[in-house]
């Protein structure tokens, strides 16, 4: 593991936002390394910079300064199109509010990331079906998000995040909108993914359950890492 570069590396990561006339540091010269196969929990209060960090690591947003390396690719200076390609091939996202497209069925939501680049739909649909079965939704393939419970929607979102077999999965408060029991189930699903397939996982949360399942937990305050622990 020591020979290959870490899955994620951030150096001097800084993000400034303008709030009124003031500039606010969402991230403040943050350094971070996440080895391949690690399950990392990012904890902190609201406004500590957790989500901003996740967006930077996931090539969703550009830092004000600093660099992010994904594997051996430096994200700085990449064009939007190249960042899109990286998101589509190497990163899976899971969001707190699921972010499913309300007009599409579960199966369509799961396959949508690869739709524009897939000529032969049948294998893609088959893979989507299997993923939905794996998350326990084999009987909900053709349901719309409005016909599903919160936990079921998050399972669809997890299946969508895995459609392209990403090396890295980023989850932003994946249990935030779920009750404790359902949240626990979702966490187990993510944990299983990490253990069985070796997928690197970064979960942002303020749910202490998450820290217990993770290999490592880092605590953020004012855009800086203030503490880290290995449960």
């Amino acid at each position: 593991m020591s020979d290959s570069p870490p899955m994620v590396r951030a150096r001097g990561l800084t993000k400034l936002y303008r709030v009124g006339t003031e500039m606010v540091h969402a991230l403040d010269h943050l350094d971070l390394e996440v080895p391949r196969g690690e399950f990392l929990a990012v904890l902190g209060t609201s406004g500590s910079g957790k989500s901003t960090l996740l967006h930077m690591l996931g090539a969703l947003d550009h830092p004000t300064s600093g660099e992010v390396w994904l594997d051996s690719t430096n994200l700085a200076g990449l064009r939007d199109r190249e960042l899109s390609r990286i998101r589509r091939t190497r990163i899976g996202f899971i969001f707190q509010t699921f972010n499913l497209i309300p007009t599409l069925t579960s199966l369509e939501n799961v396959t949508i990331p690869l739709l524009p680049v897939t000529r032969n739909r049948a294998p893609l649909r088959e893979r989507g079906r299997r993923l939905l079965e794996n998350v326990g939704l084999g009987d909900r393939l053709h349901h719309r998000p409005s016909q599903l419970s919160g936990g079921q929607r998050q399972r669809v979102a997890i299946a969508r995040a895995l459609i392209h077999q990403p090396a890295l999965v980023l989850a932003d408060e994946p249990t935030g909108n779920l009750d404790t029991r359902t949240g626990g189930e979702i966490l187990s699903l993510i944990h299983r993914l990490n253990r069985e397939q070796g997928t690197t996982i970064i979960v942002v949360s303020h749910n202490p359950q998450v820290a217990q399942r993770a290999d490592r937990a880092i605590h953020l305050r004012d855009g800086q890492i203030v503490r880290q622990e290995r449960p």
Partner: protein, 383 residues
């Protein structure tokens, strides 16, 4: 990706239908007006193909009414090389037939074209097979000196339900119909043919004045050269070969067509603005959805393509509906008034559909481009 586009369209049925309607109305207007202009052009061109003689007017006269020539010019014309027969004509639009009043201006805003009064000299007229006014398919032609008799074109006979032997009234004078001519073109068959001196009386011309001469040439391929010779020798005259007459009229009709297209295109462009408006609203509403698509790896180009496809599809649907409705209305108009010809060519259909597609591209361009400014992270924060 097309299924996603269809889903988006179907998802906002009311709004999409209204947008489609905007394009439909514009395209329908284009189809109706341009097809009617094309119909008129087709009819005129077809009629003009029957022209074989050189027409001689007074220089600068726009209509036969404005041209006053002296019969004394006839002898000079007859001596010009290549000329076979010269026949004088009095010709103008009639003001009334069988108590029906006409005015030429009205014809251009959808009314009937007035029948033409044609005065001929049966003697000279019978010397060329190309002078068709007195060639009848029913009854007989006018004989020299017959003042109370008349030959009517088939369109006049049909419009006023007249047969050979019936009386017909024109501008207060009553004539007996001795023959009916049928050239096969409504353009030429919308006329009544009387003795030259009768027409001179009706047109207020003296016995030495006529409106134009028809000149039959010895060799039809020489028509243009003969026309040039006439103008060289008699500079106060203007001689138009059949080809020139056709070209001149075609130019006028093609201007009418362009005008019809341009005016109706404005309506369609307004429809295109409707498409732009709808698409912009859709993009605004789907801001979050677009952010999600980008977050899961869609490129700007792929998102733009979806928006553009949607807008083209909406416009094209509007275009197809416009063509269908326009065709139905043209059929309806033709059924009510068969004399109003129209010509709906595949080319016109292709043109309007291409135009609708263009409107879709233009209408969707800005909304599509605006999606490139949506940052995935920013759109995801919209909660």
């Amino acid at each position: 990706m097309l299924d996603l586009v269809f889903r988006n369209i179907a998802n906002r049925k009311g709004r999409t239908l209204l947008t489609i309607l905007g394009i439909t109305i514009g395209v329908m207007a284009i189809v109706i007006l341009v097809a009617m202009a094309d119909g008129l052009e087709g009819e005129v061109t077809q009629g003009l193909q029957r022209l074989h003689s050189v027409q001689v007017f007074k220089r600068g006269a726009l209509f036969p009414e404005n041209s006053r020539l002296s019969l004394s010019d006839m002898a000079t014309l007859e001596r010009i090389e290549g000329v076979r027969v010269v026949s004088p004509r009095v010709q103008r639009a009639l003001n009334s037939v069988e108590n029906a009043k006409y005015n030429l201006g009205g014809a251009f805003v959808g009314g009937e074209f007035p029948p033409q009064l044609t005065g001929i000299d049966p003697d000279t007229d019978s010397q060329s097979p190309y002078f068709t006014a007195n060639r009848v398919t029913l009854g007989r032609g006018l004989l020299p000196g017959e003042r109370g008799s008349i030959v009517v074109g088939k369109k006049v006979a049909t419009d006023f339900q007249k047969r050979v032997g019936n009386l017909i009234e024109a501008e207060g004078r009553t004539f007996r119909i001795v023959g009916i001519s049928d050239t096969g073109s409504d353009l030429f068959d919308n006329r009544i043919v009387v003795q030259l001196d009768v027409a001179q009386d009706m047109a207020g011309l003296d016995r030495q004045s006529v409106n134009l001469f028809l000149v039959d040439v010895r060799d039809p391929s020489e028509a243009e050269r003969v026309a040039k010779r006439i103008e060289l020798k008699m500079p106060h005259l203007e001689a138009r070969s059949p080809r020139e007459t056709t070209a001149q009229l075609s130019e006028i009709l093609s201007t009418v067509r362009t005008g019809a297209f341009a005016i109706t295109a404005i309506a369609a462009i307004v429809g295109g603005i409707g498409v732009a408006n709808t698409m912009l609203m859709n993009v605004l509403e789907r801001r979050r959805e677009i952010g999600v698509l980008k977050a899961v790896g869609w490129t700007n180009r792929e998102v733009m393509r979806t928006i553009l496809t949607e807008s083209i599809l909406v416009s094209l649907l509007g275009g197809l509906l416009g063509v269908a409705l326009g065709t139905a209305i043209l059929h309806g108009i033709h059924a009510i008034r068969p004399s109003l010809a129209y010509l709906l060519t595949p080319l016109l259909v292709a043109q309007v559909l291409a135009f609708a597609t263009l409107l879709g591209i233009l209408g969707g361009a800005y909304p599509a481009w605006s999606t490139t400014r949506i940052q995935p992270a920013e759109a995801l924060r919209y909660e």
